[in-house]
């Protein structure tokens, strides 16, 4: 067989040769990798135990085993759902393009290989000068820390487009400033936390918005929800997420009446044709002046976050509560 690479190969070779990294690679002494078969997340565990533990507790590691996903996908009999929940390495697709499913080690969900395995070989790192003696052969790959890395899976519901439309100073260079905090690794090396906190993490949620209240010149109470800390809409991505502002007043005798919904922030399911998208975009404020049943009557507003819209109040996260008179 004549060794004539197709056009894709030519592009890959030229592309790599253009990078400084490739020249460094050429100078690099050969590394013994025969014994190291890197195929699954488990294979990274022995040397990167701290990263592994962070990842293992994250929703990326849970993407395949998550009972919510299993239920909705009929235990993945609906194979459409495998693509992002048990993907092949993202770097084997064009930047930002759709990923496809893998057949091996699906239980590991969005695993180390999904983000780090390079189709040309080696492990992708955002470190421009990676250790040349590291047995896993880290190679500088600018795509790793880029937004398109996340877009392959997270732009289905426009999170990345929302990020692109948000203010430069909050948005930062990529998603990692908010979703991968600094972590310190053995030997003092600076690393990044692989827990990807968001909707399932109360602290992360609290960073997204503030709820404030007051009374206007006529003494009428008001509330404001401000998206101060999310570089995209709140709540973003998954259409099932909902954030509800609820209101209640005291009656004449001073007893609390039932909570009523004041406003729901949510991107509705496609078949909910009577609803529109009410997510709160980055940096925007939602404000409402309230009508108490009688002047000066005590009232409260709280913000509940639900991972799905039908979740009972008791199972939702109460993020904030404000009240009058102040």
């Amino acid at each position: 067989m004549s060794a004539r690479p197709g056009p894709a190969a030519a592009v890959a070779v030229i592309g790599a040769a253009a990078g400084v990294a490739a020249i460094l690679m050429l100078l690099k002494p050969p590394v013994e990798t025969e014994a190291l078969s890197l195929q699954t997340a488990q294979d990274c565990h022995s040397c990167h135990a701290a990263v592994y533990a962070e990842w293992e507790a994250s929703h990326h590691a849970y993407a395949y085993l998550n009972p919510e996903v299993r239920k909705l996908s009929q235990d993945f009999r609906n194979e459409e759902c495998l693509a992002c929940h048990a993907p092949r390495p993202v770097l084997s697709f064009q930047a930002g393009e759709r990923v496809l499913a893998r057949s091996s080690d699906r239980g590991a969900g969005v695993d180390c290989m999904s983000c780090h395995l390079r189709p040309q070989g080696g492990i992708a790192t955002s470190n421009p000068r990676p250790s040349s003696s590291a047995p896993c052969q880290p190679v500088y790959e600018p795509r790793l820390a880029g937004v398109d890395m996340c877009a392959s899976c997270h732009n289905q519901h426009q999170t990345v487009d929302q990020w692109r439309a948000s203010d430069a100073e909050i948005r930062g260079d990529n998603c990692l400033g908010c979703h991968m905090e600094d972590a310190f690794r053995a030997g003092g090396r600076r690393g990044r936390h692989h827990g990807f906190p968001a909707g399932h993490d109360r602290d992360a949620l609290l960073k997204a918005v503030t709820l404030t209240s007051g009374s206007d010149a006529d003494g009428r109470p008001w509330v404001e929800l401000h998206n101060v800390g999310a570089g995209h809409n709140f709540p973003t991505d998954e259409r099932s997420r909902a954030a509800d502002l609820q209101l209640r007043w005291q009656d004449e005798a001073g007893a609390w009446q039932a909570w009523q919904r004041l406003h729901r922030f949510r991107d509705p399911y496609r078949d909910e044709t009577d609803l529109t998208n009410t997510q709160l975009p980055s940096q925007q404020v939602w404000r409402k002046v309230l009508d108490p049943p009688a002047p000066g009557r005590a009232g409260e507003v709280r913000l509940l976050y639900r991972t799905q819209p039908f979740l009972p109040d008791a199972d939702s996260v109460e993020m904030y509560r404000v009240g009058w008179p102040q």
Binding site: A3, G6, V13, P89, S103, S104, R118, Q137
Partner: protein, 447 residues
Amino acid sequence: MICSWLAHRWNSRPRCGVASLLVLVAACGESAADPAYAVINPVDWHSGTGVSQHLAEHAAQLLPAAPPELVEEVAELLDSLAVGGNLARRAGARLQDLEADLRSVALLSLVEDRLTELGVRRFAYAWLRDTGIEAMLPRLCLRLKYEKDSWSAVCIAHTLLLHGNGAGLEALDNLLRQEQQDGSLQTARAYADEVLALLPTWSDQAPPQDFAARWEHLQEVRGRWASQRLLTPEEEQPETFAPRLEAELWRFMAQFLSQPLRPVDDARFVLMRQRACSVPLLLAAAEDPDRYVREHALQTMAWIGPAVGHWCRAHALDLGAALERALQDPALRPRALEALGASGMAELGSLIAPFLSGDSFEERTAAANALLRCAGSDHLDLVTRALEDPQWPRLSNEARFSLWTLRLALQPEVESEYPVELWDAVPETERARRQRWSQERASRVNS
């Protein structure tokens, strides 16, 4: 016929040309890639005819778009049908007078629009059933995915059946299995029972008399549709689709190019539910210049399963030869192996077997899965070696589970169980998938 490249692999399990190429590139100092994910592609796909070109060739046959004013008029006419009396008679007459193509596309637009009122939608389905042209079938079939009204779902199933397509039988089955009995469900069930009575029968079979017999008959027809895409044992595997129907299928195939998910999912939903003469169309798409089209086409074939094998058998098509190029491309090879295995043709076992010790982890998993779905007892030895030989290239837990399942299927008389560690290492969903594949072996195409 199997190409020399494959024969070569077969005999010696060589590091083939693909691998040596990779090694060449890798010699620049990087480790050899896992070839399943390699960007280095030995197959030049650019020469193939793309889906858009296929679609362009069928342009003259495609259904026209429905003019919005016509859709509005048809909606009003259908609305008047509900009123009854003279108004309804006039509306019916006007609908009859419309040109058949235009009427069909207007009705399709109405059932596809989420905002169409239920009453109008039901009338639209009924008119499609009674007057729709065959080229509507792919779009109508897609309604099975989205239609939530039970009566309408039965009507879709009925219409598809009238055109020889059994894709709606599953919806009938689901409906009749439901326990709860509210009012709207009852009307739908009564209609479903009527449709059961219309299911085709064959020469040595008396038409079923009571519900129990009709139910049993449904199960038989449904099983045949699932495994062969035929409704009766007397039917022959059709050679091709009518040109206009084929044009509409290319329209769906072109959606494989979409980056947003839904159009791709819709296309796969429709294409896997057609009669098995979709095989040559899918094989053509498996050679598309676009990587996603090739992937989705092969995956659709794998989802169709043994019906692909039955069709190939009926038309003496060598599936191994047809997928030769796909097998040469390391990125596509796992999908090609899966499509081969899913066809359930036992003779393909020997083509797949060498890949069980192939160059990449992912490829070996695909080969194991494929063997589970088609291989016969002539591969028992290989399976045992792969499971027991410590020198065997590393296999994923999924691959090992597939091989174990195959071993159990090939030796039902031997009492044996999965090793506990293996059982625990494979998610329940994947164990269940392999149980289903094992059961599907009953409809394999035996040589």
